[in-house]
C-alpha cells in the first residue's frame, strides 16, 4: 500500500532515509541541503528512528565519520551541497576506494566565488571523478525513489560503491510536491539489512587504508574501475524490483518523445521536466522534438544515450555547469566522447545555462529546440557553445 504525502525534495530524501533504517547519519547543515538534516534530526529526537546521529563540525568530518561507520558494516547516509561537497572532496575518494557503500544526498548549488546559494551542478561536476555512482533526479518523487534504490545498489557485494543522489537546490529541495510513499514495511523488505563483505572488528583484525605504493596501488584502482563497470547489472536489477513494487519504472535514462524525433535536448535534473513540457507543446505544433534525461550520470550511460539518439539529426546538450577551459561543459564532454567512441556522427551543440540559479524559462527552452531543429535541417552549427540566459 502506498499513500501521497506533501513533501519537499529535501523532505522526500529525509523520509526515504528514515524508512531505510539507516544505522548512522553524520552530517553538517548547509543551504539548500539543510532541510534534510533538520527533518532527519527531528525523527531522531522523536525516537522514530534508532539511528546514531553524529553532529560533526564540518563536511570533511562528516564524510570521515561516514567512512569509519561504514567500515564497521553499518548502513550510512549523509547529505551536503556546494562548498560542503568541495570540503569533502578528498574523503569522497577515500570512501569509494575503501568501498564504503554510503548514500549521500547532494542538493546541487553553485560553488563560490562569488558566494551564491542557488542551483547549478558545479558542485557534483567538480567531484565527478571521485569514483561514486551519481544519480540526478527531476522531482521530489524521483528523489524519494532513488534514495531507496541507492542503498540496494551501493550495498550489493558486486558493486560496493557509494552513491550520490543529486537534486536541484531550491527548485526541488524546497518545493512541496505530492510524493507517493511506500509503507515502512515495504521499504524495509525492499532494502533489507546491509550484509557487509568485510568489516573492521576487534575480534578479527584486518588493516584498512595501509600505505600502498607502486607495487599494488594500480591493481586496487583497477578493481575500483571494475566495480563501476559491474554496477549497471545491479542498477538494472534494482530498477526492475522497484518497478515491480511501485509500478514506477527507472533506468539509466528517461526519454520523452524520442521515437522519430529529429532534434532533441539532453539535460540533467529538474530542467528535463520543463523541457518535456515544451517538447509536448512543439509536438502539438508538428515539430519532431524529444528529450533525454540521464538518471544515472556515473556510470555514464553511453549505450542507452546513443541508442536514444539513433534517429536524431541534431542534439542540444544542456549543461548547468562549466568545465572552464575544456572543449565543452561536463555533460557535453561525456556525450560527444561517447558518440565518438561508437563512431556516431551527430550534430551536437552545447548550451551552458542556469549558473548560480539563473532561471531557464520555457521560452528559452523553446528557442533551444527551434535552434536544434534548424541545425537538423541545415547541418550547420553556428555556435558550438551557447550561453543561454546570460546578459551580454
Amino acid at each position: 500500500m502506498s499513500r501521497i504525502m506533501g513533501l519537499t525534495g529535501d523532505g522526500a530524501v529525509a523520509y526515504a532515509v528514515k524508512q531505510c533504517k539507516v544505522d548512522v547519519v553524520a552530517a553538517y547543515p548547509i543551504t539548500p541541503q539543510t532541510l534534510i538534516v533538520e527533518e532527519f534530526s527531528e525523527y531522531v529526537h522523536n525516537g522514530e528512528v534508532h539511528t546514531e546521529f553524529i553532529c560533526v563540525e564540518s563536511e570533511h568530518s562528516a564524510m570521515s565519520a561516514c567512512v569509519g561507520a561504514s567500515l564497521t558494516g553499518a548502513r550510512v547516509f549523509t547529505a551536503t551541497a556546494s562548498q560542503g561537497l568541495a570540503l569533502m572532496h578528498e574523503i569522497l575518494y577515500i570512501a569509494s576506494s575503501l568501498r564504503c557503500p554510503i548514500v549521500m544526498g547532494v542538493v546541487n548549488r553553485a560553488l563560490s566565488a562569488p558566494i551564491n546559494i542557488h542551483c547549478d551542478h558545479s558542485d557534483m561536476m567538480g567531484s565527478r571523478d571521485c569514483g561514486w555512482i551519481q544519480i540526478f533526479v527531476e522531482n521530489a518523487q524521483e528523489a524519494y525513489d532513488w534514495v531507496i534504490q541507492a542503498f540496494r545498489i551501493a550495498e550489493d557485494p558486486d558493486v560496493l560503491l557509494p552513491v550520490t543522489v543529486n537534486l536541484d537546490g531550491f527548485i526541488l529541495s524546497h518545493s512541496l510536491e505530492g510524493v507517493e510513499v511506500l509503507d515502512d514495511a515495504d521499504v524495509e523488505k525492499f532494502v533489507s539489512t546491509r550484509k557487509p563483505v568485510f568489516t573492521i572488528d576487534p575480534d578479527k583484525p584486518i588493516t584498512v587504508g595501509p600505505i600502498c605504493f607502486t607495487d599494488f596501488f594500480f591493481e586496487t584502482k583497477r578493481q575500483h574501475v571494475e566495480a563501476m563497470n559491474n554496477s549497471p547489472k545491479t542498477i538494472s536489477k534494482v530498477n526492475d524490483e522497484f518497478a515491480e513494487l511501485t509500478g514506477r519504472r527507472y533506468g539509466f535514462i528517461d526519454t520523452y518523445e524520442m521515437d522519430d524525433a529529429e532534434a532533441a535536448i539532453i539535460c540533467l535534473g529538474s530542467t528535463a521536466g520543463s523541457a518535456m513540457a515544451v517538447a509536448k507543446k512543439l509536438r502539438d505544433e508538428g515539430k519532431r522534438v524529444g528529450v533525454i534525461k540521464p538518471w544515472v550520470y556515473r556510470p555514464f550511460p553511453a549505450e542507452q544515450i546513443i541508442d536514444a539518439c539513433k534517429d536524431l539529426k541534431a542534439l542540444a546538450v544542456l549543461d548547468r555547469a562549466c568545465s572552464i577551459g575544456a572543449p565543452y561543459g561536463p555533460l557535453c564532454n561525456d556525450v560527444t566522447a561517447a558518440l565518438y567512441k561508437e563512431n556516431v556522427r551527430l550534430n551536437v551543440f552545447n548550451v551552458i545555462y542556469g549558473l548560480g540559479g539563473r532561471d531557464i524559462t520555457p521560452f528559452d527552452i523553446e528557442a533551444i529546440f527551434n535552434e536544434t531543429l534548424e541545425v537538423a535541417k541545415t547541418g550547420l552549427i553556428k555556435k558550438p557553445i551557447k550561453f543561454v540566459g546570460v546578459r551580454e
Binding site: 568485510f198 584486518i206 607495487d215 591493481e219
Partner: protein, 95 residues
Amino acid sequence: MSEESKPGWRSIPIAGIILEPGSAMKYKTGDWRAFRPVIDEEKCTYCLLCWIYCPDGAIIREEKTVRVNYDYCKGCGICANECPAKAITMVEEKK
C-alpha cells in the same frame, strides 16, 4: 619479488585491505636508511632514552645494553640526537 610475479587485481583483496594482522613485520624498511646508528657499548649507560624515543621500535633492550634492529631502523638519527652519553654515532651506509 619482481612486479610480474606479484598477484594481479583479480586475486588481491578489495579496497587495499590486508587480512593478516601484524603483517607489517614482513615489510622491512631498513633499506630506506642512508645513515646507520652504531652504538658504542663502552659509552652506553643503559638509560634507555633511545629505546623510548625511537619512532620505529627499532631499539632492542638487551640485558646490559641496547641493540639496533637494522631490519626496521630507517636511520632517522633521533636515538643519536637524544643519547646523553654520546654513545650513538650515525655512520653513512655504503653500498
